[in-house]
Amino acid sequence: MQSDIFVYMDSSSPAILESGPLTGKRVAVQPNMSVRGWPTEAGSVALRGFVALEDATVVERLRQAGAAIAGSVRMSELGFGLVGDTGARALAEGQADIVLMTDVMGEARVAAAAIGTFGFKPSYGIVSRFGLIGLVPSMESFGILANSPEEIAAVMRVIAGRDDRDFSMPECKTPDFSQVRENQEPMRGIGVVRECVEALDPAESRAFREALCRMEEAGLKVEELCLGDFDLFRTVHNVIGAVEASSSSGKYDGVRYGHRTAVARDWNEMYLRSRAESFGLLLKTYLFQGAYFQFENYAAFEKACALRARLLEETAVLFKKVDALAFPAIRQSFPPSKANSIQEIYEACALTLCANVTGQPSIVVPGFVLAEEGGLGLQIAGPHLSDARLLSFAFRLTNSAKGVR
């Protein structure tokens, strides 16, 4: 069954547990997240007809906790950009209580900010990627949209933690998501990156500064910090992201599944035509960028990798001074749902992709950064594995500053 929000719906999704922590919650997924027996085309002709053989670990854990997997929403091709994505609408229109969205450069958080709700990207490596048909393996993770930080924490408590089917997960202690309302060490010092603020237009800047004032009123210490390389996040993400996308999309050959061209003289032509007919122009351009760095300008890719390491170090220095960093989530001037080119997509996600480059957790809190045309979302990014503290912070901030829209 389909609708304008869901590309596939399953009304018969069985509830495994009648009194699990997520019993009664309807979860919407994207069709690049494997649900056994469901069409899993990831928004691309390249995967046409592909049906998942097994549940993704995340899906399996959600079901075991009592959640119902309600359906999979429409998504952009392989999750690149947000045009055509209906995940946020599923939540806004009450079709789902929780939405899982792939967060490659902030899509989940940007989509949450655009509809004025909570969006979260966990620390890299604490949620299994088994069953996720990804695009940029070193940056992406499952993102979560929900109407409260507690719901996000409840989901994280279920899905986070080691999985013996995702062998790429590093050894680390999974944060404790059980006590988000209390018992977490509170965050006090919040940093603001000067170079980020300077890049905002006047209206955005005004809205962001007002939000900062409200945070100070709530008892937080806001400190302005310098991060001279702030501009580089975007370039680094673009170069590494395109290269990884090019590699990870190499497997879409149209031979074993997906679209296969009707006529070809030999296998080489069959590949070329199948791929040419499968990918949309936007994704093709991104893959082409990646191939350029792989084949023609490897030195630039190596440079981007070195810069990524430097950005990680510089961010670590900032987290010695403050508990978390605050940014707006979206730009008023770059609406994500209309971002149709690589440049526009990167503009729309310019403030969220930092956390994908560093692998750090980040949450978007609605109701704080309010511009004339709508909320921009207050994004709080914390150091690696500070996920539970971030969610706790979002909870307290929301509840201590009542009276906001």
Partner: protein, 477 residues
């Protein structure tokens, strides 16, 4: 070879590891099974699956590095070698380009002048093998089929320094390398069966110079002999080019074993190598390293020396008994049962190994266990059977589970050594062959062999030839 030039040769050797499972999944590592039997979503690279690096493959690879005297890197990583071909459906091969498993090794070989020569190994890295393509026709349409059984078989690639100067050295290097790797049980290293593939880079330079000139890569040699021939051919081909003033260009050539020459190959596309984000860094801990070292067996060279000292074998015999681990273990198992080392060596080399080859069996799976062979050899040494009968018994040991004693009993192979029986036999032979007796007495030594042969025949091969000879001599002189 022209005096002015010398060949500079380096090798790139791929070795298929014989691990039970593939490199990134749990599928059986049996490429030869019925096509596409040993596959799973990981080695088919279906979307959503994540490779699982095999500890077993790592250990087999690391043992190869250790027996080739390489420095094992504590930290190594996989890269994606990007190229598109139907045998590689994910568009890249997982290999180690930037951070290989091991570096800086060496092997000592017997050089062409007979003196030991040390050949350096630059690096050893792991990679996955790709699928196998089968080209057929369906009616009149040519079709290509892909067999994924081999996709994900663990490989190590061994890259040498360009230290070899001729085909003999290259062949000797590969032989030595094969012996070392087979000893640690990481691979069979068979060029003929494809578990080892050797490519050679060949260039020429004026003798005495240190420069490295443009090289030509040669491939497709499926035996050590072909490797030697291909290098020799390529050396003289390049020499011809240089003498006629043609420049050598960087390219790849295929050895044609039928025509015995190398032919240029279509240029191969060399893709880039990008760090792989899905396979975690490979770390070798002190603990693992110590464990691997403790698993190294006694290697052929020290074993040869020990066999000479401990068992009094000649150097050649000792090398013969130690060049294969299975042979050396079998040999010692026989000797342990109080068989003289020389008898054991002789019977293993001259009888057992040829018989196994003929029967396509190996020392591991043959019914002729060391215990059974030792029982037979014990009877031989006690003069209960003679050598001819013992060979007959050995043949029967392969096809029955009877003890050697029972076979000797059943078929009447027991050697006739009783003095009176033999003396009677000799007297009959002497009486029947007066002319041979005369010949011997007039100085023809050959006549003695004839008379021994007659006596053996008369005993239906069961007489003790040594005793026959003694009695004959006593009678004739």
């Amino acid at each position: 070879m022209n005096m002015e030039y010398e060949a500079v040769i380096g090798l790139e050797i791929h070795v298929q590891l014989n691990s039970a499972a593939k490199m990134f999944c749990d599928c059986p590592n049996r490429p030869g099974d019925e096509p596409n039997k040993n596959t799973c979503p990981i080695c088919l690279w279906l979307p959503g699956y994540i490779p699982k690096f095999s500890q077993e493959a790592l250990e087999k690879a690391a043992l190869v590095c250790l027996v080739l005297n390489c420095h094992l890197e504590r930290q190594s990583a996989f890269d994606q070698k990007v190229y598109y071909y139907p045998d590689l459906p994910k568009g890249y091969q997982l290999s180690q380009a930037h951070q290989p498993l091991a570096k800086s090794g060496w092997l000592d070989i017997a050089g062409e002048d007979g003196r030991p020569k040390r050949l350096r190994i630059r690096k050893i890295h792991m990679e996955e093998d790709v699928a196998r393509l089968v080209h057929e026709t369906e009616g009149r349409t040519p079709i290509s089929l892909v067999d994924f059984n081999r996709a994900g078989t663990p490989l190590v690639e061994i890259v040498t320094e360009p230290d070899m100067r001729g085909p003999q050295e290259a062949m000797e290097f590969v032989r030595t390398l094969r012996t070392q790797i087979r000893y640690v049980g990481s691979s069979e290293c068979s060029l003929e069966q494809g578990s080892m593939r050797v490519d050679a880079n060949v260039s020429l330079r004026p003798r005495g110079s240190n420069q490295l000139n443009t090289k030509v890569e040669i491939k497709n040699m499926n035996s050590i002999r072909n490797l030697g021939e291909a290098i020799a051919y390529e050396t003289s081909r390049q020499m011809g080019s240089l003498q006629s003033g043609e420049a050598i260009t960087l390219h790849t050539r295929l050895w044609d074993a039928e025509k015995r020459l190398t032919v240029p190959m279509r240029g191969k596309f060399e893709g880039p190598c990008v760090p792989d984000p899905s396979v975690a860094q490979i770390l070798i801990s002190d603990e693992l390293l110590n464990d691997l070292r403790s698993r190294l067996p006694e290697m052929p060279q020290p074993k040869t020396e020990r066999f000479i000292k401990q068992y009094g074998l000649a150097e050649e015999e000792a090398m013969l008994m130690s060049s294969e681990r299975d042979v050396s273990e079998y040999f010692e198992a026989v000797v342990k049962r109080n068989i003289s080392p020389r008898t054991a060596t002789h019977w293993l080399a001259a009888q057992m190994l040829p018989a196994l080859k003929e029967r396509n069996e190996s020392l591991r799976d043959t019914p002729v266990s060391p215990e059974r062979l030792a029982s037979l050899l014990a009877m031989l040494e006690k003069d209960e059977v003679n050598a001819n009968s013992a060979k007959e018994v050995l043949t029967r040991l392969f096809d029955s589970d009877q003890t050697p004693e029972a076979i000797v009993e059943q078929y009447g192979f027991k050697q006739v050594s009783g003095a009176s029986e033999l003396e009677e036999l000799v007297d009959q032979v002497l009486a029947a062959n007066p002319s041979a007796v005369n010949n011997f007495r007039s100085g023809q030594a050959k006549a003695l062999s004839f008379l021994i042969g007659q006596a053996m025949q008369a005993s239906q091969g069961k007489a003790n030839p040594k005793r026959i000879r003694e009695i004959l001599m006593a009678r004739l002189i």
